[in-house]
Amino acid sequence: MKYLLQRIAFYLFTAWAAITLNFFIPRMVPGDPVQALITKYQGQLSTQAIDSLYVLFGLDKDKGLWQEYLDYWGQLFHGDLGLSFTFFPTPVSEIISSSLPWTLLLVGITTIISFFLGTGLGVLAGWRRGSWADGLLPVTTFLSSVPYFWLGIIAIYLLTGPGSFFPSSGGFDNGLVPAFDQYFIPSALRHSVLPALTILISSVSGWILSMRNMMVTVSSEDYITVAHAKGLTDRRVAMSYAARNALLPNVSGFALSLGFIVGGTLLVEIVFSYPGIGFQLFQALGAQDYPLMQGIFLIITISVLVANLIADVAYLLLDPRTRKEG
């Protein structure tokens, strides 16, 4: 329990750091970005929106930095992330909450599948070292070096086109309205197959490699030799003795590399024009929509922190040593 509390304290600290970073980044923008935006959207911005922009960019001359910082936190606690320029005058929070479920489902499910699949294959490759399973290694090395988005481009090039089962872009058919019915769900599933496969193929190889190396390290431990000497079946030794112990570093690795994976998957969304957070970020970049970019960064960071916390709980359940101290 103490361990968990420590972790939660750490994540709260990290969240604070990320938010503070988020507060300072727009202040690095040279010149007066708000003025530039006001000129760009002539007459479209309300006074309230302009005020909020000035707070966001820290160009409010009357206030000190500290006061600005407090105001920023005040806005955040009201759930106010500012107004988006691209989809003016929609609040950023509204845009994010409409695109977040897409990303959570796509990235969340594929990451979990990829972790389990990769770990399973890694157990096999590590345990059967020197058999055909070693042939997986060069392939996985190559696949883990391929940028996610390029694999997506190739998938679109090879597998989509007129008459193909796989659509090349979007999250659902144009004529449909998002709802949980028999038309929308199959369409959404069909659109998510290719992005999911792309993420799966490029992220699974990392898990295979790390799990294989852990298995190789673990399988020369004394307790494995003892288990063999006791006459346990090969399968039992592999699963209950070697894999169980090799899994622990992989779980903590899972938590730590989530940040990297999420970064890569955002790009897949861009290639497939999948209506998630990554695609919104891409549109925000194109339009220099700073409030939207900041909001998206904040949401991504917080999601990664929450996922890390979940991975920590999983680690706690898997490793009895962390529970013992009470």
């Binding site: 970073l21 070292r129 190559f142 070096s145 940028p147 390029w150 481009i153 730590l256 960064f297």
Partner: protein, 359 residues
């Protein structure tokens, strides 16, 4: 009162080895370096990387066309004049690829150097000093580790308008040191309590000297593998930045090629020569660097080497799989309860005969 002899014995050979001529030490180092290159994975990776480095240097000079020179051959498939075809403006894709190599290699290595220096500074210091300094520095690197790096890099770069290569490398380097710092801290922690470190501290060496001359040489492999890993990450990040169009539009790298290919509907026009070579170049560079890293890993911990042929056929046609850590048990080995055979059976595993040793 007697002085423990062991300590004297330990000191004297130590002095003896220090008094040895330098040549012996150098010979050993040379042999080890040779062993690293003789690793097949590392050698392949180094050769591939050398080719990339060569093109990074000579690329812009040997490129047949200027990367943004337009011509009338719009979206041509590969031919003698344009080895990798042309773009929507008649630009030569092969030239763009060659010219872009320099930027990719530059950003990769520059960012790698910055991140490695930071990670050594923070990781080794944290591991060596311990206590409050360790807690503070570890918390700092954990924070950077958990915050998703790529979105952060994207946001920062997009606020810097038309960022040049060195600025991008700086941003990537400053945000991607944390993983290596963590690994280095763990390694330093395990080195810190070794005798030679205690000895050098006891002789009154300054902290920085202990770190630089005693600890660092023992961390070389970890630092090198961290550097290579960061270069991979930096290359992928730079290409990603260029692909989504937040970097300067005047410098060419492979991501820029993909940016134009994606933006100009290369897919819909079936212009495969436009986007496949750039992606392959990235993937092969990444593979080369990963291979070097595997070489380093296997050099440090030989267990990870992929074993050669592990299936061995015994004379009576059974196959046995050899594995590190335990001896294979053959079904035809002498067993006490069932069909016992004479030990001289050639098909059986080499019997372990307990020899009586005369006292």
């Amino acid at each position: 009162m007697t002085i423990p002899t062991s300590s004297i014995e330990q000191v004297i050979p130590g002095e003896g080895s220090m008094a040895q001529p330098e040549t012996g030490k150098r010979g050993k180092a040379k042999r080890q370096r040779f062993r690293f290159v003789s690793n097949r994975k590392a050698a392949t990776g180094l050769v591939m990387l050398a080719i990339y480095l060569l093109f990074a240097i000579i690329g812009p000079w040997v490129a047949p066309y200027a990367p943004d020179a337009r011509s009338n051959d719009l979206i041509q498939s590969p031919s003698g004049a344009h080895w990798l075809g042309t773009t929507h403006l008649g630009q030569d894709v092969f030239s763009q690829l060659l010219v872009g190599t320099r930027s990719v290699i530059f950003v990769g290595f520059f960012a790698g150097i910055i991140a490695t220096m930071l990670s050594v500074l923070i990781g080794v210091t944290a591991g060596y000093l311990g206590g409050k300094a360790d807690e503070g520095l570890s918390a700092l690197s954990n924070v950077f580790l958990v915050i998703p790096a790529l979105p952060l890099i994207i946001i920062i770069t997009s606020t810097l308008e038309n960022a040049e290569d060195w600025l991008i490398a700086l941003v990537i380097g400053l945000t991607s040191w944390s993983w290596n710092a963590r690994v280095l801290r763990a390694q330093t922690l395990s080195l810190r309590r070794r005798d030679f470190v205690d000895a050098s501290r006891a002789t009154g060496e300054k902290t920085w000297r202990v770190i630089v001359f005693e600890l660092m040489p023992n961390l070389t492999a970890v630092i090198a593998s961290g550097f290579v890993g960061t270069v991979i990450f930096a290359v992928l990040s730079e290409i990603t930045l260029a692909f989504i169009g937040v970097t300067s539009s005047t410098t060419w790298n492979w991501g820029t090629i993909l940016f134009w290919a994606q933006g100009q509907q290369a897919l819909a026009q079936e212009a495969w020569w436009w986007f496949i070579p750039a992606g392959l170049a990235i993937a092969l560079l990444g593979t080369a660097l990963s291979l070097i890293n595997f070489g380093i890993d296997e050099f440090v911990s030989p267990r990870l080497r992929s074993a050669g042929k592990t299936k061995i056929k015994t004379i009576d046609g059974r196959t046995v799989r050899m594995r590190i850590g335990f001896t294979p048990v053959l079904s035809n080995s002498p067993e006490p309860h069932t069909h016992a055979r004479p030990l001289a059976d050639p098909g059986a595993a080499t019997p372990v005969v307990k020899k009586e040793v005369a006292p």
